[in-house]
Subunit: 545 residues, 2 copies
């Protein structure tokens, strides 16, 4: 039996386009003489459709498009993720379902049982759970169908403790093959966890398992693909490409050599960021970006990512020095732009800065230099970038990293300007690792940029570490507090840090909440991003001075 | 039997402060010789605590503070909203509970059954539902306890169709009195719905019902208080004050005259906005605001709201004319500021605007005047406001209304700058009604401001209606599309509009999604705000040109 796994990149809500792609994949599967075609979760609308689901006609149209899939299914057994209305009068009105189709007939639905409602997931907002597990007979084989999260209660370290484990109920049905339709977003090193869980599921069920994952970036989420095939011993046999559309043709009868898959987490992270930028632009029918270069490592890395995502001719860099910018920053920016073959404009802002100081002198008079003056410079740069954007159509990519966003070391309406915050969810520590990865073959990002001490260059001789502990410590506190929800005391213990240091950093994280709330959408690549899947009040009295 | 209803205003997460207030209320209740003291839902932590609930030590501390309440309960029967860990190994780890206490002993818990997970509510992210309904015996009476949403399945028009109606299960227990602990946020005209539902509940149970609601603004949500007492016939007997802390002392044996409550929805709306501003500042330990006046109705209304919320001496207004500002706008702003006794600074921006045009001339050369030039003016104003904010500590209040936010008729990083978007969720139609309400006794907002045609004054002779239909139509489409989730065709039919007009307006709503995502937090006063409780993708293909 031949299974065709269609790892597709849908556009949220573009039902016609997505279904055309689905039908193309079916046609290709037929040419390849496949018996079964497997698609990702919610393949017709793309995942996550969010509140488009609250529009009745949106769901009606999904059901219409499913009809087109059914009509295209001649001779094939197709399992595809869709959304359907459940006809009960109570409970949530929709199900997140797999439609099982054979030879132009709908055989039935399997409704998702476990509805993730944590982190970035809000499925209980929309869906009623399906409590029944099912196998579908085809060519004498019992084919079990589960949707994404349905297998995640079976892991050793489950994120949320479910009351039901659908895998154990599936076991009673003795499937010969398990198909899993997924829309499992990327986060750093998640593939490892995924492999462990899916391997365990195959072992429990003592049958092969094929998982088809969505690929592509949708707003802040990046889906990495990496669809997988496990044999009944739980060995990973094949894995599809990451971060691109791909397909696998799996012959269940033909033994395939097991292989060792070498994880390259930093490469994955880089590719996730590139895809995050690429799909944001492509799906919005945009092509051009502009980036303010500071001479620092963050904007340098963003320039590399943008070049890979959009091509050098679609990227415009701006150098906007003030009186506090160092000459070396200017030189380093030019060197980088030359290497990447990216156009770089110099627009000095010092005259404009002085104009503001003059205009505001009645208000500023007698008061000492503080963040007001620093922010002015960052905001002039933001204004210039936005003017270029408005006039020429380039979307601004902002360059603040997660550590800076955590600490509030970014200027609202200044360097936070942008359509997309490329590094919003990338810590300073990972920025260094990514930059070294970019330079793995040759020096693309000048080593001088990588080695210099972090500085915003908004006043004389400024360094980030004048007012912050080392970023290594900052990042430990972010890991502990934001990603793992540890208390201050637990962080002190885990990382062997000073209580006062941790306390102050946690306070800063809360104090900067108001800034982040107005930041550009980021590309979520960690297990807990600030921008998506984290709900914290701005006004709160739990953490305070 | 005397019931003391403590309608308190908690600060999210300030467990010590909130509990001190709770204990004060208990002491006052004792002086008043009350038998029972009733508090709102989640009274110890405040509602909604959001992801603070993911911190184990946060919940531990709530449990500690509950002990203090228990110790303070001598001789009293107390029902108070709290969060507790459920001790099951599966399911969500927490319950949203009412603790029932008598004379320094915890009698038990009632766990919330219906966990709203729609609109602004995300309770299934945190809580496991309690499936059991309970009555507690006190002085020979059976006292039923339900928490907020638990009664909302009993309405005629329930928002979400629950599978269980706890009121019907409560009916079987034949309570003599029903206590409801609520944290029910205000939205326009919601009190009417609340009264209908609670009245029906009392009638079904044939017993009196007392509802204690939280009051106060927490980030974007405003809780209006308006705690209520219904007799067993479902007549509303007493209602607590709206938008302030209040208490009611209810003698269940003493017949009280029924009364007619006159709804004043525009007054309520105005008070909700004032409280939204007041609590945002107070709870952040801030006192001063600054506002850019344009000479238009929106900024005029915001100035009135800020004056009421913070006092005239705490508000600074800025007049920032460009070459496109009309003289009358300037005069009207001065007139208004004088009436409100608010300091007004004039900072003309035209010179600065020209500086930008000069600086950007290499980029702008040969291209015609467009939104790039318009946005420059709005952004210069934003920069000046933020400079004042940074230097003097005034928080910027932004003035864009919901209709403008819907259409994208606001400038990102320009007039969208601000700590709080006072009118983000107030349509232009309601801005007019509110302004008339402000002027109900005397002309505070100059009638010239109210009567002039809406204009951003960012280019010569500009009017909003040059490129938009009348705001009346815009607001109908917002009501239909955003608040009621109607399709384009349904809106055309409901409001008798042109298909092309509705289509274009709905497209605009989606196109401006990226702007709103970076807007300041608003004060949610409609049944569907853009900023909170609405999840729509920026990148989508459902609504497009």
């Amino acid at each position: 039996m031949l299974v065709y796994v269609a790892q597709l990149n849908p556009k949220i809500g573009d039902l016609r386009l997505n279904t055309d792609k689905i039908i193309n994949a079916i046609d290709r599967a037929r040419i390849e003489k496949a018996d079964i075609v497997l698609f990702p979760e919610a393949a017709i609308c793309g995942y996550p459709p969010e509140d488009l689901l609250l529009y009745d006609n949106f769901v009606n149209k999904i059901e219409d498009e499913l009809q087109r899939v059914i009509e295209a299914s001649k001779d094939l057994f197709i399992v595809i993720g869709t959304i359907r209305k459940n006809n009960k009068k109570t409970g949530k009105p929709l199900s997140n379902s797999a439609a099982v189709i054979f030879d132009k007939k709908l055989l039935g639905y399997k409704d998702k049982t476990l509805l993730p409602t944590y982190d970035v997931f809000i499925e209980k907002r929309y869906f009623q759970p399906g409590l029944e597990q099912k196998v579908f007979e085809y060519k004498g084989k019992k084919i079990g169908v589960l949707i994404c999260e349905d297998v995640w209660a079976h892991g050793d370290n489950t994120i949320s403790k479910y009351e039901i484990d659908p895998v154990l109920e599936m076991e009673k049905l003795k499937p010969d093959l398990l198909l899993n339709l997924s829309a499992s977003p990327y986060c750093f090193e998640k593939k490892d966890v995924r492999k462990q869980i899916f391997s365990k599921v195959a072992k429990t069920l003592k049958c092969p398992q094929i998982m088809c994952n969505q690929v592509g970036a949708n707003d802040q989420l990046v889906f990495d693909g990496h669809s997988m095939y496990f044999d009944k011993e739980g060995q990973l046999i094949t894995i599809a490409k990451g971060f691109v559309e791909d397909h696998m043709l799996i012959d269940l009868e033909k033994p395939m050599p097991t292989f060792t898959y070498i994880e390259e987490p930093i490469k994955d992270l880089y590719e996730a960021l590139v895809l995050g930028v690429k799909d944001y632009f492509r799906k919005l029918n945009l092509s051009k970006a502009c980036i303010g270069l500071s001479g620092g490592i963050d904007s340098a890395l963003v320039l590399c990512i943008a070049q890979d995502a959009l091509g050098p001719h679609n990227v415009l860099a701006l150098n906007m020095p003030s009186r506090y910018s160092s000459l070396s920053s200017l030189e380093d920016s030019h060197l980088l732009a030359d290497t990447l073959r990216i156009e770089l404009l110099d627009i000095p802002i010092d005259h404009m800065y002085q104009q503001y100081l003059d205009l505001l002198s009645p208000i500023f008079a007698g008061k000492s230099f503080d963040t007001a003056e620093e922010n002015l410079q960052a905001r002039i740069r933001g204004m210039i970038l936005m003017a270029v954007s408005n006039k020429l159509g380039h979307i601004v990519l902002s360059t603040g990293n997660k550590s800076e966003m955590a600490m509030g070391y970014v200027t609202l309406y200044g360097d936070m300007c942008g359509g997309l915050g490329v590094l919003n969810d990338v810590s300073k520590s990972l920025v260094y690792k990514l930059s070294k990865w970019v330079n793995r073959k040759k020096e693309i990002i000048p080593n001088k940029i990588i080695k210099k001490a972090p500085s915003a260059e908004l006043k004389a001789d400024q360094k980030d570490q004048d007012t912050l502990p080392k970023y290594e410590i900052v990042d430990q506190v972010i890991d502990g507090y934001v990603e793992d929800h540890l208390s201050i005391e637990e962080i002190v213990k885990k990382y062997n840090l000073e209580l006062e240091t941790v306390k102050e950093l946690v306070e800063r994280i809360h104090l900067a909440e108001y800034k982040r709330r107005q930041g550009p959408p980021g590309i979520r690549v960690s297990k807990k991003a600030f921008s998506k899947g984290r709900f914290l009040p701005i006004v709160q009295g739990w953490i305070k001075d």
